[in-house]
């Protein structure tokens, strides 16, 4: 039998909820561990060795030290997987990017603002090549399992491209707009089985945009349902500031 893939798990700027979700595979964790060797995971273990077949990386890059570490991880990893909205598209941390950085720092630390360096929050792909994305905030667990299985089998995982609306319709949910709420399902990338609308909540766009989103139409729908243009764009930016700023230019 071939050697098991060596797996490492890393975290950058974020809430570590995606890593926690990896520990939350209680029913599958022991089976998963049979197929890989976890060689590095700061949140769960002490060891720190050298090279890995697969690196799962959570969080966005927001300090000079982050940039150094991600380059080092990329050098050591055969396959690099971005896990969760912060790593894939910058996520919620990106909201600070549209405000002057000096103001942001001063608001929090006052006269001590220069004690701690900071950069705009970036997705991993802004600095290194990313091989696979597991999207969502927190990362969608069934998508992680699919990606994990594919990589262990030596296959390339397929990334979903259709909108959340497609999966929501398949589940025969009542449309969120029919309930007098707004929803970002039409432009948000599926793969989550429309989890939030299935629990009565609107889609907040955590999985990033579909390829070539029709943002003008999305803005019109949101305005038609009661948001101002400004508020509509704020909702769209929640997890997607980096991506939307990129689409603008």
């Amino acid at each position: 039998m071939a050697a098991k893939p060596r797996v490492a798990i890393f975290d950058f700027t974020g809430c570590e909820g995606c890593e926690l979700n990896q520990l939350n595979f209680e029913n599958q964790l022991l089976d998963m561990l049979e197929h890989v060797d976890i060689v590095e995971w700061r949140e769960a273990m002490d060891d720190r060795p050298g090279e890995y077949d697969i690196a799962f990386v959570e969080g966005s890059l927001s300090t000079p030290d982050c940039i150094k570490r991600i380059n080092e991880i990329r050098r050591r990893a055969k396959v690099l997987v971005a896990v969760g909205a912060c790593a894939v598209q910058g996520g919620i941390n990106g909201m600070k990017n549209t405000q002057p950085i000096e103001e942001v720092r001063e608001e929090v630390y006052g006269k001590d603002k220069y004690l701690f360096p900071t950069l705009p929050a970036l997705p991993l792909s802004a600095v290194v090549k990313v091989d696979v994305n597991v999207r969502g905030c927190p990362m969608t667990q069934m998508e992680f399992l699919k990606v994990f299985t594919a990589l262990v089998m030596g296959k390339k995982p397929v990334e979903p491209t259709s909108a959340v609306c497609v999966e929501c319709k398949l589940k025969e949910n009542e449309c969120v707009y029919e309930k007098g709420m707004i929803c970002l399902g039409p432009v948000t990338r599926g793969g989550c089985d429309a989890h939030c609308p299935s629990f009565g909540q609107y889609c907040t766009g955590c999985r990033g945009m579909v390829p070539e989103p029709n943002l003008k139409a999305m803005e019109e729908i949101l305005v038609k349902h009661g948001l101002s243009v400004n508020e509509a764009w704020k909702r769209l930016h929640l997890y997607n500031t980096h991506e939307l700023e990129g689409l603008k230019s």
Binding site: E26, D65, V104, F116
Partner: protein
Amino acid sequence: MTMNLDINVEHLTRVEGHGNIVVNMRDGKLEKAQLEIVEAPRYFEAMLKGRSFHEAAIITSRICGICSLGHQITSLKATEQALGLEVSEQTVLLRKLLIHGATIQSNVLHAYFLAAPDFLKVGSVFPLVSSHPDVVVRALRMKRLANDIGEVVGGRAVHPITPVPGGFTHIPSADELKELKRRLVEDMTPDLLATVETLKTLAGEIPQFERETEYISLRCDDEYAFYDGDICSSDTGRVSDAMYREMTNEFVVSHSTSKHCRHNRSSYFVGALARWNNNHDKLCDLALQAAEALGLKPGCTNPYMNTIAQVVEAAHCTVDSIRIIDELLERGLQNEDPDQEPKRFGTGVGATEVPRGILYHEYTYDRQGRIIKANCIIPTGQNLENIDDDMKKLVPEILDKSKDEITSYLEMLVRAYDPCISCSVHMLDVDFLE
């Protein structure tokens, strides 16, 4: 005796977030003993500015995955107070059930996965899979059930979906709650008793270290306080949650991107041990039996015993979850719509006991229901000064040990607090300049 000592543990493992332990001793004199917090700042205050009240809990939940439920509930309480939104008794019961689930999950995760490897002298939980398979399977079963409470009631355990200002977007069915109750009775209760037995065999591994300090937690008259109550200090007694700034007094130190806190002394303790010391008279019998079996006594001043207090609380949360489910079933579940029509626009404070201690959120809203001012004070930030004070007392007491042993004692000390560094470096603080 070691006259010179330098310890520098970079990116301490098995804690949530990034921190370093630094100790320097020169000619027998302790120059430095501190936990450096190097987590990247995230600047949540900039993110919240101008955001709708619908989004406040969604955003602050992302301060921390492990504590996401605690942030959500605390945020909702602050928003509801600021906007005059009413919540039903059913909403309060479901929120308390969610808090219990999150507390069990977090406490079990810490005791088994993060702290236990220290007692068994291994680097992680993974070697235990083959050496102690029954224990690992038990821990996973307990964690799964605790997470299932979050999934059934909250729609998801990490960053729950259904809790919103004024109530819930989705109410669980009676059958789902009955099934949770069955598993709490048939699986969780025996698993807790077995956990106590396992921990009894490891009790000798818990370091003997005492330091008197101030303990701060919520306290209320009719139950072991998690969801509601006054702020209670073991030194100075009870005050209303509106007084939280006087109880925390945040300040910046250069070795930490998280602010520190103090109140009546140079530092104070929040978390399971503080709750135990202040509220042990409100615990159920099963929890009190667990405490007795594990040697946890009222007025405990050994910070390493925090892990034991967490297990005692898991027992209490299990018994109380069963009680809450019974009450919900007896009342009959109502499909209520959340009250989201603001009656006023002002300032509101939420204070909740989350697994790592007392958490405060405060928001001020403008007339469009958008945030103009926000403040969050996090349990781990409140504990940082206490951890530094512990290290300053501990290091001189264990100088006869090897450098590796001293390092291990210090790592175990920090882990005993179950620090959540992502949370503490949320940086959601100062008033916005319009």
